[in-house]
């Protein structure tokens, strides 16, 4: 019913707006079914589609295809390079471990040699030091013996002299030989 009144209004309203719009500017029926507008839409749709197809097929898609192919190539190459580098790294590690083992063995040998040499030097030095010490000890002992002997002689002499003097002071005539014998006997005892 509303449609009919609007249609009447349209008939009075004029041909300028076409047969699909009412006087108030609202649609009569479904705008989708208005045949007046279809050629316009179809024309511009074809323009739009051809424009999109042109831009895509000439510029966009080949570009992206090339980029994707290039990226794929780069990734493949990089993966191959990485594989190679990994092998190199494994080899390098093996070489490093070997070198380390060798270095450790060398070091052990050097340490052993050095130890042996030091031991030898040490032995020599110890022997020398021992010899020196024993020589010095012998000298010292000899001197100690001399001193001790000298001391005993002196004591004997002093004792004899003292005994003679004591005997003389007490009014005796000391028999030198008897005094000496007595003192020697007492000193031994």
């Amino acid at each position: 019913m509303a449609t009919e009144t609007l249609a009447d209004g349209m008939v009075q309203g004029g041909a300028a707006v076409g047969s699909c719009l009412g006087l108030d500017g609202s649609a009569i029926g479904m705008p989708q079914l208005c045949t007046d507008w279809m050629p316009n839409q179809i024309f511009w749709l074809l323009v739009a589609l051809i424009a999109i197809y042109f831009f895509l097929s000439r510029i966009g898609l080949p570009r992206i295809g090339a980029v994707l192919a290039e990226r794929q190539g780069t990734i493949t190459n990089d993966l191959a390079a990485a594989e190679e580098m990994k092998l190199q790294a494994v080899a390098a590690e093996r070489a490093y471990v070997e070198a380390l083992e060798r270095a450790r063995a060398d070091a052990n040998k050097i340490v052993a040699e050095a130890k042996a040499e030091i031991q030898k030097d040490l032995d020599v030095a110890l022997a020398k030091a021992d010899a020196e010490i024993s020589a010095k000890a012998a000298v010292s002992e000899a001197r100690i013996a001399d001193i001790r002997a000298g001391a005993v002689d002196a004591v004997t002499q002093v004792a004899k002299d003292t005994a003679k003097e004591l005997v003389a002071a007490l009014g005796g005539s000391p028999d030198a030989r008897a005094v000496t014998a007595a003192v020697s006997a007492r000193l031994k005892g």
């Binding site: 509303a2 705008p31 507008w37 749709l45 074809l46």
Partner: protein, 246 residues
């Protein structure tokens, strides 16, 4: 009827085609709002696929990676569905997908015009696909393309019946193909408009606005899915043309 209750329902007015300049009659060449929104879709495609890929970078910029996602998605779809010999129609399918996708998405901007809601537009797309696919089928397979309608597996007495059904369903394809797209977009936009009219009543306005928000989210989904569905059905039809004996 609606006007009597104080509510103003004009859910269909958003689909009116008007001239961009002046208000004369709409001739076939007149630049209209349909023209504007279709060309905006073209501009989006150009921005994404020409400006976005300008660098040709192996490590893509943001825009270029978006373009690459579109490319990869549609390329894979074409290759999976139609097989390797369908790949040479890839630019056409990409064109269809991008036009529908961007038209649908741009139409969701408030006050925008939805070109894909018009039967005239989707029918050109649908019948274009139908005619192209039929021509490709006959060129590639000759008369054996008709074998598609003659089921060898079915019992002999059933074959003519099945053939009739197959032929009818073949000719219904472009109709459903185009009406599905136009209907979905029209329905979504009209529903949003109806809820928007309810927002004029203060009492139910909050509910109505919430509903618009929810429907809008659904419409974003529908816009993408319908572009996808249109494209994948095109691929399926193309596969039937290239390999009619399933």
């Amino acid at each position: 009827m609606a006007a009597e209750t104080g509510l103003v329902f004009h859910p269909m007015d958003q689909f009116i085609v008007k001239p961009l300049f002046g208000d004369g009659p709409v001739m076939w060449y007149t630049p209209t709002n349909a023209t504007l929104w279709m060309l905006l879709a073209v501009l989006c495609v150009v921005a994404l696929f020409v400006l976005g890929t300008r660098g040709r970078a192996v490590i893509p910029t943001r825009l270029q990676s978006v373009a690459e996602v579109f490319y990869g998605f549609i390329y894979k779809m074409v290759e999976d569905v139609t097989g390797h010999d369908g790949v040479k129609y890839f630019p056409w399918i990409m064109t269809l997908f991008l036009f529908i996708f961007f038209s649908n998405m741009l139409a969701l901007i408030p006050t925008a015009f939805a070109p894909t809601s018009h039967i005239a537009v989707t029918a050109v797309l649908g019948f274009g696909v139908f005619i192209a696919v039929t021509v490709i089928g006959f060129v590639k397979n000759g008369a054996s393309f008709l074998g598609m309608f003659w089921m060898k597996e079915a019992p002999l007495f059933l074959r003519p019946v099945i053939a009739v059904i197959e032929v009818i369903s073949y000719f219904v394809r472009p109709v459903s193909h185009s009406i599905r797209l136009a209907g979905n977009i029209t329905a979504g936009h009209a529903v949003v408009k109806v809820f928007a009219a309810f927002a004029g009543i203060a009492l139910i306005a909050p509910v109505s606005i919430l509903a618009i928000t929810a429907i809008y989210a659904l419409e974003v989904l529908v816009a993408v899915i319908q572009a996808y569905v249109f494209t994948i059905l095109t691929c399926v039809y193309l596969k039937d043309a290239l390999h009619p004996a399933h």
